[in-house]
């Protein structure tokens, strides 16, 4: 890896900590800045630096070494350690890249949606949220996960509530999210308490070792597992626990929606992978059973019911929000298969879906920016009034449905193959059925945009009014990324295989990729 030589050695050894510390401290600085422009510029620079750092870490991981960083020089298991391995590094890169793209989009959109006085603190809250997300992915200490989970959640409540100047329902959406999110985090921390009772340590690797030695542990460990799954389930919008998600996504500023949809639930899913596969072990009796019944059951139920709900929405952002819940179901199905191929397919879908949904929400935000559109019935003739935006939207929508040569196709095929390998033909059927449902709900939107004439206002047909360049860049970057992954998915499959290799000691879980 020649690229790796561009990074100074210091950055590579301390990169894991710098990735969290930099946005956290800059977020604090932004909070006292008076100027909105300066705040945006600083946030953008921080996100760029984080992306470069994350890229360096990913290259280092693909080079075959994983990284353990001891905070304060206290070695694990006593101190807090930051661990970058094949599972966490791609998620880190995903979060920081999405932050960069969303911030590009934020420049015009935040000016339209947030009051001037609140814009600099808005970016501050965003950076703190980003630090929290990066922190909960990078940390190797179970309680530190809770702290960062709450750091990101609390700043998310603020960000969602900032939508109030555009849509007053953002306040109630944020409040509901706060109540349910706090319950989820509290369940998670109860689970950690029981886990600490059982193992007497907080270091994840140490916990895993002790639990393995105890052969899964006593009832205390089982209770801990139940609490942790429910807590994380609330955070990642597992089907019956998803009620906070649609209104939070529909009423928050569109920049926040785009960022949250592509990162927040993904980071929680990463934690689910981390806890079910590395700390607990699928070979432990109760874990395996819980995955079979709970994750697969709720995942499949979510795929079907959330897709059905998505069809009957009138608000486009709600349609996409319910679709997000359905897509979480796909990932849960992959995880619940409890095989290397299943976990890899779930992980692949996690990465791909972030790219797809981020693009879709940015497009919707651009449409609101130009025409104030949120309802599906208002999409009439958008293919003529905003052709470029609608083009990017269409590509991402096709990718969401799973049309060949798009990212969605790659992950769905891998997921179906993984299920078929286990003999779960019904799961393949469910994947096909929900894809058809996706055609219906995305088709509703596309039909309005392509087959109807633009509305007539004041006697004239609405003129073409394209989104600003700052919005077009991120949406097309994501749409093209979606196609690029669809045509050549080696890189993503390689990442997913690397993660699966960490979770299960096998190589090449998915065909088509080169193992690192």
């Amino acid at each position: 890896m020649d690229l790796l030589s561009f990074f100074p050695e210091w950055v590579m050894t301390h990169g894991a900590a710098l990735l969290v510390v930099l946005p956290l401290l800059m977020g604090v600085v932004l909070a006292i800045l008076p100027s909105e422009k300066l705040a945006w510029a600083l946030a953008f620079i921080v996100a760029l630096i984080c992306s470069v750092l994350a890229l360096g870490l990913v290259l280092q991981i693909f080079g075959g070494e994983s990284l353990v960083y001891s905070m304060g020089g206290w070695d694990p298991p006593h101190g807090i350690s930051y661990v970058v391995d094949a599972l966490s590094a791609p998620v880190l890169l995903l979060i920081s890249l999405m932050a960069v793209l969303c911030l590009l989009y934020a420049w015009p959109s935040v000016r339209a949606e947030v009051e001037p006085k609140k814009r600099a603190p808005f970016y501050a809250a965003f950076l703190v949220c980003m630090a929290g997300l990066l922190g909960m992915v990078v940390t190797g200490d179970a309680f530190n996960v809770f702290v960062f989970l709450e750091v990101s959640s609390i700043s998310t409540y603020v960000l969602v509530g900032m939508g109030a100047s555009r849509d007053r329902r953002a306040l109630t959406a944020s409040f509901n999210y706060l109540i349910l999110g706090s319950i989820g985090a509290t369940f998670f921390v109860v689970g950690l308490g029981f886990l600490f009772m059982e193992t007497g340590t907080l270091n994840m690797a140490d916990m895993a070792r002790i639990l393995r030695d105890l052969d899964g542990g006593s009832r205390v460990a089982q209770v801990a597992f139940a609490f942790i799954i429910i807590g994380l389930g609330l955070k990642l919008a597992m089907f019956p626990l998803h009620v906070w998600l649609p209104s939070a996504y529909a009423h928050s500023p569109s920049f926040v929606t785009a960022f949250l949809a592509s990162t927040a639930t993904k980071a929680a899913l990463y934690l689910l992978l981390r806890f079910t596969f590395t700390i607990f072990d699928v070979n432990i009796n109760y874990v395996g059973r819980a995955e079979m019944i709970l994750l697969v059951g709720f995942g499949v139920a979510g795929m079907i019911f959330a897709s059905l709900q998505a069809i009957f929405q009138t608000d486009a952002r709600r349609t996409l929000a319910y679709s997000s819940v359905a897509q979480v179901g796909y990932m849960l199905l992959g995880i619940g298969l409890a095989t290397a191929a299943g976990a890899a397919a779930g992980y692949l879908h996690l990465l791909n879906h972030a790219v797809i949904k981020g693009g879709l929400f940015i497009c919707l935000g651009a449409m609101w920016y130009r025409f104030g559109i949120t309802r599906i019935s208002d999409f009439r003739g958008l293919s003529k009034t905003m052709p470029w935006t609608m083009g990017a939207f269409t590509i991402s929508a096709l990718s969401l449905i799973g049309v060949p040569f798009t990212a969605g196709f790659v992950s769905k095929v891998n997921l179906a193959t993984a299920a078929a390998n286990e003999g779960w033909w019904w799961a393949v059927g469910v994947i096909v059925i929900t894809s058809i449902l996706a055609i219906i709900y995305m088709g509703n939107i596309l039909k309005e945009a392509y087959f109807k004439e633009p509305p007539v206002v004041n006697g004239a047909i609405v003129a073409r009014n394209e989104a600003p360049l700052m919005m077009l860049i991120p949406m097309w970057a994501l749409a093209l990324a979606s196609i690029a992954i669809g045509i050549n998915s080696d890189l993503m499959v390689q990442a997913a295989n690397g993660a699966a290799e960490l979770l299960f000691p096998v190589t090449n879980a998915l065909p088509g990729g080169v193992t690192p």
């Binding site: 301390h14 510390v21 956290l24 600085v29 909070a31 905070m71 020089g73």
Partner: protein
């Protein structure tokens, strides 16, 4: 004649003591129970008591909201800055040992600096929350209560 004369006199006497006690808790945190969190809350309690007795406008004159806002950030920056300092000295983040020649003294200085940051942040945040809620115009007048 002011009806709250006893409150005023007693609190005038107590507020400096509360603030002093906050600093006692802060620096005693080195040897026993105490530290930035507790000290910060006690210090904020002094300001809040002042605001309750003499009115929030007087409190805002004594501790201006802009200072509170800077204090919040300053505290985190002191904490993070300690970590950055240890980075510059070539150690891991927040590895206090390198702050002095003798690692155990370094730990000592590091903890003091970090706790000072915590004090600033916690006290400012507490006062900021109080200001934020206290400054809202109530839609009930005093007579309605």
């Amino acid at each position: 004649m002011n009806p709250h004369v006893i409150l005023r006199v007693v609190s005038k006497f107590l507020i400096p003591l509360i603030a002093l006690f906050a600093f006692y808790v802060q620096f005693h945190g080195d040897f026993g129970p105490g530290g930035g969190f507790q000290a910060g809350v006690i210090l904020a309690a002094a300001v809040i008591l002042y605001a309750l007795i003499f009115g929030i406008d007087a409190a805002k004159k004594a501790v201006p909201p802009s200072a509170v806002r800077i204090g919040m950030s300053l505290g985190v920056l002191i904490y993070g800055g300690t970590g950055v300092a240890t980075w510059l000295l070539g150690a891991n983040f927040l590895e206090y040992g390198v702050l002095a020649h003798d690692p155990s003294h370094g730990q000592h200085y590091g903890i003091l600096a970090v706790e000072l940051g915590v004090l600033f942040s916690v006290a400012s945040v507490m006062v900021a929350i109080f200001y934020a809620f206290g400054s809202r115009q109530p839609d009930l007048t005093d007579e309605d209560w």
